[in-house]
Subunit: 796 residues, 2 copies
């Protein structure tokens, strides 16, 4: 059992250094309590009075002293071993700790000169915390050195692993709260060690902060036996080093010894045999929640109890007067007079404990990834274009085509090592298999002979956890690299909440001048709702884009390319873009192709447009607009147009295809939105619009509710009807098939008269026939399968 | 190390029983392959021809033989020990196994008489699988004995634990796939054993099915050392029993021994000392993926490889002719002629292996929970009503009031033991603490002196994992009980995808006559977007209701009670309802109260209505409709009305409050929807509607896009602006505050003339003043904090 416990204190620290480390920690704790409470009198130059106290006391104390302890000790080893370390605060609501740490090392004042290293700056530092017009209480984007806010718990380890990929010298010290450790995403993230390459990737040093309590409950990991806890982490493949106790001096010794031990183990692994999976070290820090805070308030235990979670001691005009004195005693227990000079500057003896320059965790460039971001080397996507000899020519599967483009992006950036593809064991299923011609799936656990495409070094990261894929990719992007997440459409909802947090992070960064834009988060959704032939209803949910559109317009983009050439154009655009979340929805099955490459580029550049070759309304107002967005809706719309033009040739039909979904929204709401004039030009102001949409139909209404022609827009889409059946039958079940679309037109155009009535009856008979056919034959009727765009329309 | 390995085979089974068990397993495997491939010739009475093969081969073979193996062995112990066992199939895409198991035991034919136990029935059983008009390929609601479809992976263990709560005699045999085991939710679900009460709850027997592969990758748990694997599960607190191998007869012996061992351990725990946390047994079954299937096809390894994941052998007119013979050989390798008589009935000697009646896992009533569902004993919610002496009287916090109602529901159902509250350590934070007067938080790990409300038996289940809370509750409901999930509003998105799957399950059940309705899934969202004073932007997302409304109208309900009495009425309604997902959004902070109990009941029963006491448009058309939904929007709307009535008294204002969100949708879309006449009567057909909404404003547009007055509806809501600030400032940042609402009215009513222009200027000055005030004082201006509805309007 390799542990560093208090029973065998190693003499790691000299007496002088021990005293200084403790003083530095006290300084951080003092600054933390100051942030929670004080609006003036920051150096306690006069006795504390109520007028010095904020009117609203908001923040989290419980985790903070432990994080200050860790930050202080990390500073020592960074300096001693000249390490490249960043700090990820899983319990990021302990924002005061990260703010205090970066302030003491000088980073904070460099980024925010107004928060200077003097009494005036201290006052502002305290006042701004958790205050209107000030800063959030978490390790938010406003906090230098942070790539992880920690507002929503569960993703610290995944972010950390993403950060160290292809950063061989980087160590991410990741503090995992024992509350956070109960979440699912965190519980599986420990397994990330089966993927890391010890030579080409960096190191994650998890520090499980076992402070024992959540908001009002104990934590599970604090209430199992020491033996179980150790077995758990050894079972996860780690080598846990234990630092346990509450007496500061002994704990400083133990922590220093554990960190020295960990750094030595890491060094051995990094310089050792790369061909076996290493057992990386981790630290389990068991320290009291709210350590060094009030022991007891109003008869309740505070330190070492859940009651220290937020502000542990209420101080206001309506609380008992002794509370003010308790707060003053608490603050003075850190002896600020020993720590800061009379101008409020950290004493020189202590300031030298912090690393210098970019070695400071708050100034490490990896934490402001845009600084390090290099453009991808991009092959010309046009060269991957597929020939489209005629409209509706058979395709190979749109994502399959895109796979070849991605393959060569991997090849061209093999040297830069700044592009990766992430997916939950679906990269092949999603038909991006071409990428495996250029690279492998990175994997560091056992390999057996019949395995395929597994290697210690590879650009594809696959684990059956959407949370991990998303978390790894976010960490990779936040530290200045590029990537793509490919996922079954239905199951991307698993990371809805992670998307929320990332989109909020991006939005907040936009408002912070020193934060540099990072590469976009690109999500390629396939295996879509319309083609779940063997998985059925559980695999049908196109609603992620509904979720996405609620976030800030300057952050989110949604694309629905109708064929392979359009997908290539869109993918190229997304991979070059910055600071967005791009969602691309595309098909993987062989499907008809519509546009040659030049047309596709022109169409995707506009994002929306009339398909003249499918329309017959030239130089006039149409009788009806047939709009479509998504591959299957486009197919059904064009098939419907064929029927209409054959049977009702006098109708003037305009076909509009939408690639960039936000074109539908007003330009006042989204920068991609059409202005009213352009929208009305496309969709008319008074003609029926039959819109076949890839997703839930209401999304189109939500985007177009304030357009002039809104009341004439009739949308067909997925309305939660589905099971195991043919692809075409899926459209029938949801009334988005060609026959229903034609009937929708007839219903809205009385001028189709008896011809329309007769056609409608024929189509209803056809639907009955179809249903019987598939139940007998288990597949679609040949006339459905073999349908082709009928006109002589060569693609230029 | 307690393991049952092949090195020491115990003689558990007599030779006769061993042969029979193997034959029964072969029968299940034969039925499984038949489901994947055959449309006729089900007993292979003639040589296999292409015309006997389905035209589309869809399904998953890889997991199926292992699940057949488990099901067969469970049958033996159920019979031998007279156990009450249900089967949860984590890899539920191995639907053929559950269908085969329930068919062989007779359940399937009882539920679906057309699928009879004869040649004709066999033919239909085979044809229907994964076929248009047939059944899905998963352990779907159509499958008797299933409470878990397994389409989306990760929730099998949580469902299983939910199922055994308060079912002391029940054993849930939960097959966990090693792919599923990589998901976050599953990785943390192993910790559920820290909550189970060994006396009052039942037993979960996890069977980790280590078949080694996912779709195209190996699994992590199959590629770590045996020592690590054992440490991991011992660290999770389990006692793993290993069954490993591929030789059927030895594996039967090993599995039988392991199950006997597990049952004996369970018996000891159930009859032992309830005061210490037991170490429950689990089984690790390491068997080849696609066991007994083709060894090799086209030079590729199939059995024991990822290539057996789906249909391992393609057979059609376009595949090599020898494939047909390989399939026939494969089918005949099970010796169907020994298993079924010439009429296709399972031989009597084998049929007797299955349990009888409700002991059959497919017929266990717990798997059709509605059969067991008992109404809750409900106290009269009216008695918890708060007095509202005047409009806007101060409240205690709406959820705080509701907590007392929930407390007494717990008390009244203490004996029935069929109601539980679930939450991620937020029940107190969400101010439902009154429930802890009646019960405790169930917890079976270590307890320390300063802990509060922890006990081995309690009605509140708290773990910091929204996935676990949701999964436990779903399992509890699916087995015929009642419950409530309370959650921070923003973080309910963590279970978006679980909600999807549950809503789909409920929808599918509605179409299956033998499935009985279960209690509704009730989700109480609080700690809402508008009141995140100390958590800020990361904790602000009201979009779960946007997500919910995409699901089938017959399943989903959304309520936004504006005050405590309304919340009581809504909660009562939801807890009595069946087969819905009810989402209730309510405030927890002290806030103004508007309706006395009689008014609240009347208002909530209608779901939407004019608040006459706040309106001044009696007997006439209003000039403007001020609509509101949610507690904070209601407050701001009424404050705006006060300003309007003071400064522009000639305006006729109608106030409409919306509790039941679906009232806004058309009655043709949702059964709760208003018809056009009623909607137009409330909202007029041509007057401006200023709508203050709790959530993202576009949701109101999505629901009302096809109303006559649509273009006059102007919605204010959360538009993704927020940080740490005061509650009122949050409304200002999103322009939903009283001042902006008044300005919205003025902008839309030119008749307000110069008075309007002047008022608008005053309000803009007020907003500037407010911003300065809060930045200086850290709290809202007194006139905001102390605002009261001004009229002399006693509540009857």
């Amino acid at each position: 059992m390799e542990t560093s416990t208090l029973n065998t204190p190693p003499a790691t620290l000299s007496s002088d250094l021990l005293q200084k480390i403790d003083a530095y920690w006290r300084a951080a704790n003092y600054l933390s309590v100051g942030q929670l409470y004080l609006r003036s009198n920051p150096l306690l130059k006069e006795p504390l009075k109520l007028q010095h106290i904020k009117s609203m006391l908001l923040g989290h104390w419980g985790t903070t002293p432990g994080q200050n302890f860790i930050y202080t000790h990390l500073n020592r080893v960074i300096k001693q071993y000249d390490l490249n370390v960043i700090y990820v605060s899983g319990p990021g609501h302990g924002g005061p700790a990260v703010v205090a740490g970066t302030y003491l090392e000088g980073t904070y004042s460099e980024v925010y000169p107004d928060i200077s290293q003097d009494e005036d700056g201290l006052g502002k530092l305290f006042t701004q915390f958790s205050y209107p017009g000030g800063i959030p209480s978490h390790a938010s984007p406003q906090t230098p050195g942070s790539i992880h806010e920690g507002g929503e718990l569960g993703y610290s380890l995944s972010h950390s692993f993403g950060a160290v990929l292809d950063n061989p010298d980087l160590i991410v010290a990741c503090v995992v709260g024992d509350g956070e450790a109960e979440t699912g995403p965190l519980a599986t993230a420990w397994h990330s060690n089966k993927f890391l390459n010890p030579i080409t990737d960096g190191t994650v040093l998890p520090i499980l902060h076992l402070n024992g309590y959540k908001i009002s409950n104990p934590t599970i990991l604090a209430r199992i036996t020491h033996q179980e806890l150790e077995q758990l982490f050894r079972g996860y493949g780690w080598n846990p080093l234990f630092v346990e106790g509450d007496e500061p001096m002994a704990m400083h010794e133990a922590m220093a010894a554990a960190l020295d031990d960990a750094i030595e183990q890491i060094r051995k692994i990094k310089t050792g045999d790369a061909h076996s999976r290493p057992r990386w070290p981790m630290i389990v820090l068991r320290s009291p929640k709210g350590w060094t805070g009030p022991k007891e308030v109003n008869g309740h235990k505070i330190e070492g109890n859940f009651r220290s979670h937020q502000v542990p001691l209420a101080v206001s005009a309506s609380t008992p007067p002794e509370h003010l004195q308790m707060l003053e005693n608490w603050l003075r227990s850190y002896h600020p007079e020993e720590l800061f000079d009379e101008n409020g500057k950290l004493s020189a003896g202590l300031a030298e404990l912090a690393p210098k320059g970019e070695r400071r965790m708050g100034a490490n460039p990896h934490t402001n990834g845009g600084q390090l971001l290099t453009d991808l080397r991009m092959p010309d996507f046009r060269q991957y274009g597929v020939p489209v000899p005629f409209r509706g020519a058979g395709g190979e599967g749109d994502t399959f085509v895109c796979g070849r483009f991605l393959r060569d992006i991997i090849r061209q950036n093999q040297h830069q090592r700044n592009f990766r593809i992430f997916g939950p064991d679906e990269t092949v299923s999603n038909r991006l298999d071409a990428v495996l011609e250029a690279t492998n799936r990175q994997w560091n656990a056992t390999v057996e002979p019949a395995d395929e495409f597994l290697a210690g070094d590879g650009r594809v990261m696959e684990m059956l956890s959407e949370h991990q894929c998303e978390g790894w990719l976010e960490g990779y992007l936040l530290t200045g690299r590029h990537g793509l997440f490919n996922c079954y459409e239905a199951f991307i909802h698993i990371i809805d909440s992670m998307f929320n947090q990332h989109a909020k992070w991006l939005k907040a960064c936009r408002e912070i001048p020193w934060r540099r834009d990072i590469a976009s988060l690109n999500i390629l959704l396939t295996s879509t709702v319309w083609r779940q032939d063997h998985n059925g209803f559980t695999h049908q949910d196109p609603g992620f884009i509904d979720h996405v559109v609620n976030k800030k317009a300057e952050i989110v983009r949604v694309y629905l390319p109708p064929d392979a050439n359009c997908l290539l154009s869109v993918t190229d655009h997304c991979l070059r873009s910055r600071h967005y979340v791009n969602v691309i929805v595309a098909g993987k099955h062989p499907a008809p192709q519509w546009l040659n490459m030049d047309e596709a580029v022109a169409h995707c550049t506009r994002g929306i447009g009339v398909w003249d070759w499918a329309s017959n309304d030239r130089n006039s107002e149409p009788d009806v607009v047939m709009a479509c967005s998504g591959d299957v809706p486009t197919l059904e719309t064009l098939a419907a147009v064929t029927i209409l033009r054959e049977h009702l040739p006098e109708l003037k039909i305009r076909v509009v295809n939408v690639v960039d979904l936000f074109k539908l929204e007003k330009n006042t709401e989204h920068t991609h939105g059409l202005n009213d004039h352009d929208f009305d030009t496309l969709f008319t102001t008074n003609k029926p619009v039959i819109f076949a949409f890839h997703g839930y139909p209401w999304l189109v209404h939500r985007l177009t509710y304030n357009r002039v022609n809104n009341s004439n827009i009739h949308v067909r889409g997925y309305k939660e009807e589905g099971t195991i059946t043919t692809s075409f039958d899926m459209t029938v079940l949801n009334e988005m098939d060609r026959f229903h679309l034609v009937m929708d037109v007839i219903d809205r155009l009385p001028q189709t008269g008896s011809k329309g009535v007769y056609l409608k009856q024929q189509l209803m008979d056809k639907l009955t026939e179809h249903k019987q056919y598939i139940c007998t034959n288990g597949k679609d009727m040949p006339e459905i399968l073999n349908w082709k765009w009928s006109e002589e329309t060569k693609t230029n």
